[in-house]
Each structure stands twice: as C-alpha cells, then as structure tokens.
Symmetry: C2
Subunit: 301 residues, 2 copies
C-alpha cells in the first residue's frame, strides 16, 4: 500500500489558493518528497502526516519554485524532533545549491546526505523499500524525472512448500521474503515464491518537454503525475520555448506509456481555470485527473 498526495499544483510562483507542485509518497510509515518550493511545508502540515517520517527529498531541478522551501522545511522537520539523517537527491550541483540556500538556516539538528544523480543517464537507487529511478529530461537547466516502484514478491507456492517438506510454521516468514535457518538446512524465499509480480509504480515528470526516452522510462505507471503548464494547444510554441508541456502532450505521453491514471500539475499562473482544458486531455487519455492542492490517493497491489 502506498499513500500519495499532490501537495500543490502550481508552477513558477505560489498563488493564493494554489501551492507549488510537489508530491509526497508514504509507504510503511516512511515518506519521500519530490520538490519543495516556497510554501510547500504549509500543505504538508495541512496533510497531517507529520514531518518526522520524511527520509528522502528528491529535486527535479534547482529553480526556485522547486527548492526555495527547503530551508524552512528542514527547520520544521528539525522542530518535529527528527534526529536521523535525511537524504537529499537531485541533479548535479545539489550540495552547492543547498549550501547556498542554507545560509539562512545553518543549524539543522540532523545529518544531510547528498546523492547527486548524473545529468546524462538514468540512475537507480533505493529509498526505503522503494526503488527510485531518475531520467534526465529536457528543461532550461539540468532536470530529472523520477519513478518510484514498490516491487511485489511472487505468489507463495503451497505445492512447492509441501514437496520440500517445509513446516507450516515457517511459511509466513518465507512469504515475507525472510530467510529461515533450521538446524539442518537454510530455507530461502526463492524456494517457495513464484516469479516477481507487477508492483506499484508512480512517476513524476515536471519541468520538461515530452522527450522520447520519457515514455519508456515511466512505462506502465499506476499513477503518472505529469506537468501540464498550458491548457491550450495554441500555446505550443511557448511550451517549446519554455521547455514545458501542453495538456495534450501530457495526455499523449500517458497513452504512449500506458499509464493507469494521470494527474496534471504545475499549471502556469496564467492558467487560472485548468478545468476549461480537461476535455482536451481526456479526449486523448480518458483517465486524466486535474491535479489540485492536497489531492490524495492510496495505491494497493
């Protein structure tokens, strides 16, 4: 089970009634945040999941609307009593940027670990039980798209377990993926579990053009959170110039990548009524949802 919440749906600047785009994902009581613009800590507080369980913060890139809230959030996480290290992940330059903005919040009561991801290739790393992957995308400065996957173990094969004479009292641990040491032999999960099954996959793609590699990278996302900076197809040239996407481009990406559901986000401040253009996106990808502040969903296997 994964809980997901879109904290805000705006791009460029926070607005009255529209926080900046950021996604928080919770699994097994641990939280991963993607992006932290000015004010992001406020909807995070409204959400009520607490600050202390945030273990990882990923940045797509270092424009102010995606990272300016970091000093304040880290101070608030500190005030929540957290003492364990927190990992910051982002494109190259992460440490330097964080050092710069943390001049106004030098005393954070926990360690910061830095994971600078390459700007030229995809990368994979673990964040709790999740597999986190990055893909360099196409924006005016180095920028990454992310996927988070929770793998699902294979089915427990009762026939195999019986054939191997594994006592029933050990089935539970093996099913959880744990190894069991017996006096005469070692039982490992692969002895009784079938092929890995499709898990849960969440993708987050802002600020970018719909580059070719993207569809493959986010393929078969249960939830695709994708930027839709402009609603009108007439803004195509602007989207190309500013390295953003139209609603229709995001919807095509959802179709190509066989997404289960797509949430649009990162609306331009000029897009005051995104609902006007929802049909444009739904005519291409019917499972489009208009992202809005504090939009939540729980994903199950």
């Amino acid at each position: 089970m994964i809980d997901v919440c879109l904290l805000g749906s705006g791009g460029m600047m926070p607005l009255p009634g529209r926080w900046l785009s950021a996604l928080v994902v919770r699994h097994n009581g641990k939280m991963i945040l993607i992006d932290c613009g000015e004010g992001t800590q406020i909807p995070l507080k409204m959400l009520g999941w607490g600050f202390k369980a945030i273990e990882t913060i990923c940045f797509t890139h270092y424009h102010a609307d995606h990272i300016a809230g970091l000093p304040g959030l880290l101070l608030s996480i500190g005030n929540s009593g957290k003492k364990e290290p927190l990992t910051l992940i982002g494109p190259p330059g992460l440490q330097e940027v964080v050092k710069g903005i943390m001049t106004i919040a030098p005393e954070v009561p926990f360690e910061l670990h830095f994971e600078e991801l390459p700007a030229g290739e995809s990368q994979s790393l673990c964040a709790g039980d999740m597999e986190l992957r990055s893909l360099p995308v196409d924006h005016s400065i180095p920028c990454l798209a992310y996927t988070m996957e929770l793998k699902r173990k294979g089915k427990f094969d009762v026939q195999k377990a019986k054939k191997l004479s594994i006592p029933v009292e050990h089935w539970g641990l093996l099913q959880k993926g744990e190894t069991v040491e017996l006096p005469d032999r070692t039982l490992t999960p692969d002895m009784v579990l079938g092929e890995m099954r499709k898990g849960l996959k969440i993708s987050y793609c802002t600020d970018t053009r719909p580059v070719e590699a993207l569809a493959g990278f986010i393929r078969k996302s249960d939830l695709l959170v994708c930027e839709g900076m402009y609603g009108e197809d007439e803004k195509y040239l602007k989207a190309v110039e500013k390295k953003h996407m139209l609603f229709s481009e995001a919807a095509k990406l959802a179709v190509q990548s066989e997404a289960g559901e797509m949430w649009l986000t990162h609306y331009s401040p000029s897009l005051s009524e995104p609902e006007k253009y929802l049909d444009v996106a739904r005519s291409i990808f019917p499972n489009t949802i208009l992202g809005e502040d504090l939009l939540k969903k729980t994903l199950h296997f």
Copy 2:
C-alpha cells in the same frame, strides 16, 4: 498619507492560516517591505497593491522566517515588469546571504543595490520621501529594528508671504517645498513655511528583547508594530532565552515610547489563540491591536 499592511503575523514557520510576519508601507505609490519570509509573496499578491512599486526591502535579520521568501518575491517582481533598481537593506552580511539564497534565482531582470547597515549603531537613510532609521537590537544573531518617518513641512505663513510681497501664483509651489526662481530674486520655502511639524512615524520591532535603547528609538510612533512571541507571562524565561518578547513586555514598550497604537505580531506557532492574551497587553497599553494577516491601516497627517 501612508498605507500600511501587516502581511502576516507568525514567527518561526508559516502555518496554514498564518503567514510569516512582514510589513509593507506605501507612500506616493512607492512601497517599502520589511522582511520577506517563506510565502510572503502570497499575501502580498492578495493585498492587490502590485509588486512593481516595491523599491526597498529591509531585513531585520537573516533567519529563514524573515528572508527565505526573497528569491521567489524577486522573481515575481521581475514578472511584474519592473526594470528599475531595487534596494535591499539589512545588517552586515546582506550581500553574502543574498548571494547564497539567489543561487536558485540567478536571473532577476533589475539591479539590486545593497545597503549593509552597522550592527553596532543607529543609522539613517532615505527611502523615497521617508526617512528610514535602524537600531541594533538584541537577538541571537545581529538584528535591527526600523522606524520610517514621513516628515511634515511647516504651515504656510500668509502674513510672511504678504510682507515679502510674494505673488500669490507662487504660493502653491513654495508650500510644496519647491524653490521659485524669479528674474530679480529666488524664493525658498523657508521664507514662508513655519517650523517642521510632527509627521508620521511607523516602527517595526521583531525579533528582540525590549532593550533600553528601543523605547527612545521608536518614541512617539503613530504605529508601533512589535513582536509578541508569547502571550503568557509564565513564558518569561523562555522569552529571555530565545531573545523574544512577551505580550506584556511589548505593551510596556508601547507605554514607555508613547506609541499611538500598537500591533502585536510574530506569534510563536505554539500560540494558537493570541486573543486569549489580548487583555494582558491591553491592561498595560489599551491601544493594543492583535496583528493578523492582511491587517491594514491608512495613516493621515
């Protein structure tokens, strides 16, 4: 005439329903902002005075809750079309701090001028038609209190003007403080204006203990905006330790300094119901107002 708006009333961190403490002052279409914490640009947008007329931003000190909103605000001011220089004013270290936090917003389309004020003595400078003064106060890092004064010229002395045979058509300009060159002589405002009269004075004091010099510095403020981090007198030791003020200390400062009216602000996040302690302050200084987000007032001569 001066318009004043308290953009927020909180300290430490922005909260749902309570922006961080910051004051905006408008005179003759020009705006001065004091402090710019995370999110300050949002109530400023709600206020509706625009961003373009902001000419000066003063910082009391460089804790995140007073300056973290600067990158975002400067970008929004840039988006408003401003091209004229903007002056930043604050304690020593200003340029270095701003350089650090502006790593995430390197391209602002107007010049920034820096005025680093001494941490050891009071300083005076002009901001538009206003006289801006600073006083070092007592916080955990160098911190300044500010006053803004709009001077009021003396009364026009009709008898003097007649005695000096000044033609009536020049009275208006002289009254406005302008010099008039005639073929045979030069007319200056001092020839017809009386003594300077009491103008308008606004003071802004956060984050500090009520140090001795403060009452003299803010003396006879028409409007004193003063921190009240804690409502309960029982929090005295905490206020001393954290270098903040109680409601009752702010009220005593208002009495000592003969303020016209005091707005309390910069409430601790733990102070969820400041109204509970309003009577404590009013029993000492009856003209106490509980600061709240977007509290406005227009001051007249």
